[in-house]
């Protein structure tokens, strides 16, 4: 009985860890575990909203790259939810875009990368993106790479690629 009490006290103390530390821990976990975090408690339900700080850093970084007329953008981050400055989506210098990020990306409803040829998306990236919309504007792409976990989301693909004659490689793992 005593022991149990001591244990509980210890666990209670863990609540004093700041959000930033807890989020750090969860950011190392695979997508699945992160989604599970949403049912830990109500506080965790909107866990990714605690991420605003990192989003603003990514914004300024991407903005700086766009200002330089970037052609290849590779973005790797452990963070779970990110959004991009809206001007990324009609950026007319971008030729290759590779995103290896957490699981949620906020894409605008419509987008068009006028010069984009290669789009590569990471295994974790699921859910927030409706694939048919994504495929809408790929007429100039010649590489579109999707990895793993996409297979559930990607079911709507059948027939969607028929119109895109320049698309040479569609890689679905």
């Amino acid at each position: 009985m005593m022991k149990r009490q001591v244990m509980n006290e210890k666990n209670d103390r863990l609540r004093y860890l700041p959000d930033s530390v807890l989020l750090r821990i969860f950011s190392f976990l695979p997508t699945k575990s992160f989604l599970q975090a949403r049912i830990l408690s109500k506080r965790w339900q909107n866990v990714e909203s605690l991420h605003e700080d990192c989003t603003s850093r990514i914004h300024s970084w991407v903005d700086a790259a766009l200002n330089c007329g970037v052609e290849e953008l590779d973005l790797y981050t452990n963070y779970i939810t990110i959004s991009f400055p809206s001007r990324l989506f009609d950026c007319d210098s971008l030729v290759g875009l590779k995103l290896d990020v957490g699981c949620f990306i906020e894409f605008p409803g419509m987008f068009c990368f006028p010069k984009l040829k290669r789009m590569q998306l990471s295994p974790n990236l699921v859910y927030s993106l409706l694939l048919p919309e994504l495929v809408l504007n790929v007429c100039s792409w010649n590489l579109f790479e999707l990895r793993r976990q996409w297979k559930n989301t990607a079911l709507g693909l059948d027939g969607k690629f028929g119109n895109y004659s320049l698309l040479k490689y569609v890689y679905i793992d």
Binding site: I25, F28, L29, S33, L35, I39, L40
Partner: protein, 167 residues
């Protein structure tokens, strides 16, 4: 310029459970809280004892061991090399979850960046593939959903709850 004859400064730290630790200055300065104590009290006497009311002796001893090794790694230019990874793996191997929790609480209070980075990743590794109940118990998170609310959230992310390990 010889540094011979310049005595190595020792910092005195006193834990919540009353133990006194003597720590080499470069190691103690890894603790942001100790560093800012001396930054703010520039004329503190050499035998000043810094009280650490939120840290007990056991985790502090573990933290000193870690920081001492890492200060040396940096001094030897070994930072980021296999040697460091090996040390970290050995260091964590024998630690129980309870010890890990004590360490992260203490490292957070003392504000030791490198150690926090290491501990957050280590804890994440121990939580991989664990059930929601396990993670709740680990952090002492109270489930404040009604059963209906919890069911609704679970349904929404159904695929994320397949294939978790037995606790």
């Amino acid at each position: 310029m010889s540094k011979l004859g310049q005595a190595k400064r020792i910092i005195f730290l006193k834990t919540a459970d009353g133990q006194l630790f003597e720590v080499d200055e470069p190691v103690a300065m890894e603790f942001e809280i100790v560093k800012s104590f001396f930054d703010e009290n520039e004329d503190a006497a050499d035998d000043t004892v810094v009280p650490l009311p939120n840290v007990s002796a056991e985790p502090l001893a573990g933290i000193i061991e870690f920081c001492k090794a890492h200060v040396e790694f940096r001094a030897n230019g070994a930072a980021g090399k296999d040697e460091v990874k090996k040390f970290n793996a050995e260091y964590i191997k024998e630690k129980s979850n309870e010890q890990l929790k004590e360490l992260i609480l203490a490292a957070n209070y003392l504000n030791i960046k490198e150690m926090l980075d290491f501990l957050t990743e280590t804890i994440a590794n121990r939580l991989k593939n664990k059930s929601v109940e396990y993670v709740r118990a680990f952090f002492g998170i109270e489930n404040d959903f009604t059963p209906q609310e919890e069911e609704a959230v679970r349904k929404e992310y159904e695929w994320a709850f397949e294939g978790v390990d037995e606790d």
